[in-house]
């Protein structure tokens, strides 16, 4: 079976353009203390791509010049970037919501273990990877990662995350070449198991479909699953998710200052043409979105985005 080009699957062509841009997502680099098997950016300890200080300043300038509802800081492990704390501190007053995407384990390491207090003092929203509510998560992320993640979550809870005014969301990714479960259903299971087993509470669970790029794409190729996975995504194509695709409402900044429709397009090497963070005007208004076959991951079943399911 051959999977049709993604763009041809969109009947309403107005959905191939951006809507109201609300989010600036900033990817500080590929350096990470983990090498998760599902990572679409192949981030890891050996990666050295890091955003320059000048590009960080340009991100802050754009946040000052144009009103974004949300700044979303990601990586790699963004906390490992030397400008991370400055970026968070200066960006925080510029938008209603500032999200940091954390792998949790870094928050238990020397030099970073004061970050939970830093996050709380600035009312940062923490969006934390936890691919399963048992040690099955270690199969995707590495031995011992689950127990260290739980320790970090307990510390965040003690500071008021997940139970008071501080938002703590968790992220579920499937442990292989299949779609995620119903977000509402798996959230119930997470809530019951985490509270029972370790007293951990959280605000919401976001299910994200694995994208067939980077390290996960290499797994699909190596295991002979690429074709069947793309077919699986295509067979589950849900047109009702198109209007909520995250690429329609955000700009994603790469470590080198290139701009993208989303973090997946960073992995696919599909930048927004004619714009960089140093000259962003072509990206901040209405623009044509660049699509690839990987986009089927965001429109399969209940849909998927950095904010979780699109259409439950």
């Amino acid at each position: 079976m051959s999977v049709p080009q993604f763009a041809s699957a969109i009947a309403d062509k107005s959905l191939t353009e951006t809507g109201d841009i609300q989010t600036l997502q900033i990817n500080l680099g590929r350096l990470c203390n983990l090498s998760c098997k599902h990572c679409h950016l192949s981030a890891g300890p050996e990666k050295r791509e890091m955003m320059t200080r000048g590009a960080v300043d340009a991100c802050l300038s754009l946040l000052r010049e144009r009103e974004f509802a949300t700044a979303d800081i990601t990586g790699g492990s963004p906390e490992m970037h030397p400008e991370f704390r400055r970026l968070v501190s200066e960006a925080r007053p510029l938008c209603a919501r500032l999200i940091v995407r954390s792998n949790l384990t870094l928050l238990t390491e020397p030099g970073y273990d004061d970050l939970p207090e830093f996050f709380a003092s600035r009312a940062v929203e923490v969006c934390a990877s936890l691919p399963h509510y048992t040690k099955a998560a270690d199969k995707t992320r590495g031995d011992g990662v689950f127990s260290r993640s739980i320790a970090a979550l307990q510390k965040l809870n003690a500071l008021g995350y997940g139970r008071g005014g501080l938002t703590l969301n968790l992220v579920f990714n499937p442990g292989g070449a299949f779609l995620p479960p119903s977000q509402a259903q798996i959230e119930k299971e997470y809530r019951a198991a985490l509270e029972r087993d370790s007293g951990v509470v959280f605000n919401g669970l976001l299910t994200i479909t694995n994208n067939p790029l980077g390290r996960f794409g290499e797994f699909l190729e190596r295991s002979g699953n690429m074709e069947s996975y793309l077919e699986k995504l295509y067979n589950a194509f849900n047109p009702a998710t198109l209007v909520g695709m995250m690429c329609r409402s955000q700009i994603s900044v790469g470590p080198d200052g290139s701009l993208y429709d989303c973090d997946f397009n960073q992995a696919a090497g599909l930048p927004i043409e004619g714009a960089t963070i140093f000259s962003p005007s072509a990206a901040t208004g209405a623009r044509k979105i660049r699509f690839g076959q990987h986009c089927y991951a965001c429109t399969a079943g209940q849909g998927s985005s950095c904010g979780g399911a699109i259409k439950e």
Partner: protein
């Protein structure tokens, strides 16, 4: 025929209804209703279906319900426990039939 079971045949399952569409329609409606969320969750039903599939040794159903369990967040550890439930019932049923053997022995032996 190279083998009796081909995984690609699973997608042709609907062709079984070609000569008896009314019966097929009743079956598929019933099947859909059985697996809908009810007093048991769809997830719990998928785990039961996997264990039954292994017990009745249907390779198509094992493939389908392993994938269904994975997509419902069921871990390999949980699926393995379900496999043992199927094995225990099959093994237990074999042993329970030993009672028939014992009854025959009791009747006939001195």
């Amino acid at each position: 025929m190279a083998t009796y079971y081909e995984d690609k045949d699973l997608s042709k399952f609907g062709s079984v209804g070609e000569e008896a569409p009314a019966l097929w329609e009743k079956f598929t409606a019933y099947y859909g209703a059985v697996f809908a969320e009810g007093a048991l969750t769809a997830r719990e039903k998928a785990i039961i279906a996997l264990a039954v599939a292994e017990a009745v040794q249907c390779p198509y159903c094992i493939d389908s319900y392993t994938q269904d369990c994975l997509s419902k967040g069921v871990t390999e550890e949980q699926m393995t426990e379900a496999t043992h439930v199927a094995a225990a019932i099959r093994g237990g049923a074999t042993l329970a039939h030993g009672l028939q053997m014992k009854n025959v022995v009791k009747k006939l032996a001195l």
